[in-house]
Symmetry: C2
Subunit: 211 residues, 2 copies
Amino acid sequence: MSEPRTRIRRLPEKAAHDRASLDAVLDAARVAHLAFVQEGSPVNVPVACARDGDRLLLHGSTGSRLLRTLGSGVEVCAAVTLLDGMVLARSAFESSMHYRSAMVFGTCAVVPDDGKVAALRAMSEAWMPGRWDTLRPPTAKELAATAVLALPLVEWSVKISAGDPEDPPEDLDAPVWAGVLPIVAAYGDPVPAPDLRGDPEVPAYLRGWRP
Amino acid sequence: MSEPRTRIRRLPEKAAHDRASLDAVLDAARVAHLAFVQEGSPVNVPVACARDGDRLLLHGSTGSRLLRTLGSGVEVCAAVTLLDGMVLARSAFESSMHYRSAMVFGTCAVVPDDGKVAALRAMSEAWMPGRWDTLRPPTAKELAATAVLALPLVEWSVKISAGDPEDPPEDLDAPVWAGVLPIVAAYGDPVPAPDLRGDPEVPAYLRGWRP
């Protein structure tokens, strides 16, 4: 019997097995890379993603070949990785990176018409919390032009690398600085659209957003 | 005859076709997602990457099943995506993201022993410029434990999304702020290793690094 493909073989001490860890990684991500097999070859496409309960939501144009392929029942492997820092050890060999990564295997379901608005709202709220209710609702034409897919969070793995450099004892006296350089992502100042009319204020909800 | 798989069908106006654009995206990335086919199913793994001329370098443990698979001549699709901002349009439908993404199709070559040090140095300089020469050289044992792979930059595509929200005229009078929220990644303050000895200074070269 083969091993489950979600078992982490390399540095298994970095594997997290709890659902909360998976949710935290997915919730911190905006983009997943979706791999699938097309005519025997791998294809790997970035897609905006948002977790909604037990599913990872994706969307795109109904005219998109990618969305049609993903919605056709093809197997996918969605990968999300957040880079959190550089680990500067005393040697190149022990230097590494801090990251949080998740991999989800499965098949995307097409979200039916009567679930589209809720799913689009969930994505919008994940990316731009508080904004959905300030926007006009989607039109029937927009909904018809939008395909929404849901990848169930059933078969997955999570790997998290954190912590200090781990140099062997014989390297500790090297006259070189060692430590961690954290990577911090932040939103810069909002840039108003050139065609903005009526001088609306930058919304207060936006100030609390984190990328 | 089928179309080249690197042709961008969706929003083709966002495609970049010049090698400088590819290089810029790859050079700004630290991590690629490598998709390949294993027993008919897609697998998608994050791997630290660095461009070195006409190749994308990867490395890992010679004991890693992943590295052995990638080095075995299997077809890969490496994808790199940098998220640059959120585009807040007047409607959810027109809202989007700024990103730079690259996709490279091909097969990884195993970098031979006599090219390993140069390749490792190139990766180190891409991630931590100026540091390699301050570290002890890799030992024979470390080199033997490290597999280095090179994916040639031959078959690739690049897609870049930038620019202002593009709302239709009928939405422009909506009483809602619209614009772009740029995402900026930066290094935070260096965190010294707890086992740091001799109080070495934080190296000056590190101050100029950008993630």
